[in-house]
Amino acid sequence: MDERMQQTHRGERDQVRPAADGALVRRPIDPQRLVAAVASPEAGANVLFVGTARGFTNGVETTGLEYEAHDSMATEALERLCTTAVERFSLLACAVEHRLGRIAIGEAAVAIATSAAHRRAAFEAAEWLMERIKREVPIWKCEEWADGRRAWVHAEPAAARSGDAGHERGDGPVDAGRRRSRGRGRRR
């Protein structure tokens, strides 16, 4: 929030351009707006990642997705991840939006835009952010299938992490699991 204010008051640009901004949205994501938000004359690379609702997973047709979140914790986590990404990868700017509510197949569920002096940092930061978002931000996805069934996706703890940024099962809340296990011993 402070960064946004500073950028606003600095007045060097013709628009608000936060250095690191993560947000939940309940409307369609506009990827181009995110890219514009991270644009910088110092940048040699802008990377835009858009995660979309996939219509088929392992041959099973998905007809739509619904997302919900713990709003305040998820927003805080997204903001913290963006700030961390800027520092860790020396980004010029970073912006993330995750959509909530029902989304149709093909629509964007999440978008990440990064800008950096060189492409490697911009690519790596986007990938790092996506991995962290899937693993630790309190957002949940409900899959709706062609046969009318629907189910919330809650990965088994033993499931292997997947590098795919799409919507398969198999990614776990690694940090939550670790956190949980610390106090678990005496009760199990």
């Binding site: 979140a69 713990h70 693993r135 309190p138 949940w140 919330w152 699991g177």
Partner: protein, 89 residues
């Protein structure tokens, strides 16, 4: 652990999410709470809503927006959220 009728006993309102809310049949579960740890709270929830027990084992607990381990005390009236394994992205 159930001292709901003793003096000072309070209520705890728990925010449930996603599949956990679906299994519990509510997004806001209220249980009697006389105090105890997050671990005690897990047992109380499983007792109140046996259907959630399995997923609850794999869920995180947050108090006032902060993740809390099982040994953290939970005061009556605290802002508690139960967060099942996440699946954003």
């Amino acid at each position: 652990m159930q001292h709901a009728s003793s003096s000072g006993a309070g209520q705890l309102r728990l925010a449930l999410f996603a599949g956990l809310a679906e299994l519990a049949g509510t997004r806001s579960l209220e249980i009697p709470w006389a105090g105890g740890s997050v671990g005690d709270l897990r047992q109380a929830i499983a007792h109140a809503r046996p259907a959630v027990a399995g997923l609850l084992e794999r869920s995180a607990v947050a108090i006032g927006g902060r993740y809390a381990d099982d040994d953290v005390p939970v005061q009556a009236g605290a802002d508690v959220a139960i967060l099942p394994p996440v699946s954003g992205g």
